[in-house]
Point group: C5
């Protein structure tokens, strides 16, 4: 999984029916100091996250599809949690 911040949305008029009603989010991956790290990721929203949230996202097809119900949703990335705290010991 990656830690990322939601920074925007993607709107697609012509898409798989299974995506209807779900947000497609733009994510900026973060390092442990909450600084941007690497390129943006496009992911489906499985937990009703919004712009500004720090989230946990998967980047693999089978797990992403499971996060949104699995059947007929051909995605390879999804937001699966909103993060409260990152503890480093």
């Amino acid at each position: 999984m990656i830690i990322a911040r939601v920074v925007g949305n993607v709107v697609a008029s012509q898409k798989q029916l299974s995506h209807e009603g779900k947000k497609i989010l733009l994510l900026q991956p973060l390092d442990l100091k909450d600084e941007p790290m690497g390129e943006l990721v496009v992911a489906l929203d499985a937990v009703d996250a919004g712009v500004g949230d720090r989230v946990l996202a998967v980047q693999e097809g089978f797990s992403a599809m499971t996060s949104v119900g699995h059947i007929e949703s051909p995605i390879d990335a999804a937001v699966i949690g909103v993060i409260d705290l990152v503890e480093i010991e």
Copy 2:
């Protein structure tokens, strides 16, 4: 998922039967300013996209196969949507 522009086609005479009738597209990944970024991607078309369209594509086998009906279509990338708008906040 990635954001990309359709830039061409691939024609293969000897291929898996399940691909018959489906287009194999050449995609140029884009950054958020719509500038080309990184190397071309070869993907099966699941939404009847055409050259010039800005699209959303998956790059994982299970999700790509699901996008085109799943059975007997051994692909690892597919175009799953035509993009209207990318909003960054």
Copy 3:
């Protein structure tokens, strides 16, 4: 699989129900001299590992999901063993 050391935890209040009661661990990948190598990895804990443990982790969705019981747990990385010894011949 990768060899890594557990260095912290991630706490998410809003997440997939299937993750309830399982720890989300921060892992630092190691080289063969036990020195840090590359970026941190976020993984679900399948073997009750703790901070300081040297562990074996998978980084693929289907195997990660299998390690924690598979159904309804949309993850793409998991800790699957605590390492005692690495032998190079």
Copy 4:
């Protein structure tokens, strides 16, 4: 998928029974000018391709396994088509 040229074979005496009778091919990925690009790929042959052919190959396990019949064939790359033409517009 990637576009590649078949440049050789791998012979393995001790291997999964499911591979018996199938060729293991060495592929050189190509750029759009048919020039070599990046490192060689080892893939199972699903379409009876030969040395010199320009081919389409998948690089993901589930799709590779599907291309050769799926059951009991633990591969993560396969040649799924012989290319006639690449059109860039």
Copy 5:
């Protein structure tokens, strides 16, 4: 798949039960001149390979799990063959 040489073992006392009795191998990927290339890979042994053998390995979860029987073995890499010969034409 990758071509690699077996260079060592990993011993884990606390691990998934499905791994009991199977060796966890350290692999050094090789280029076509049999020179080391890139970082070590940790993989489960599906063909009884030993230190010094030149092997073929998969690096994807679904195929790795299939190579060792599939059920309850959460791995993302496996040795699937011992190589006799690599022919480049």
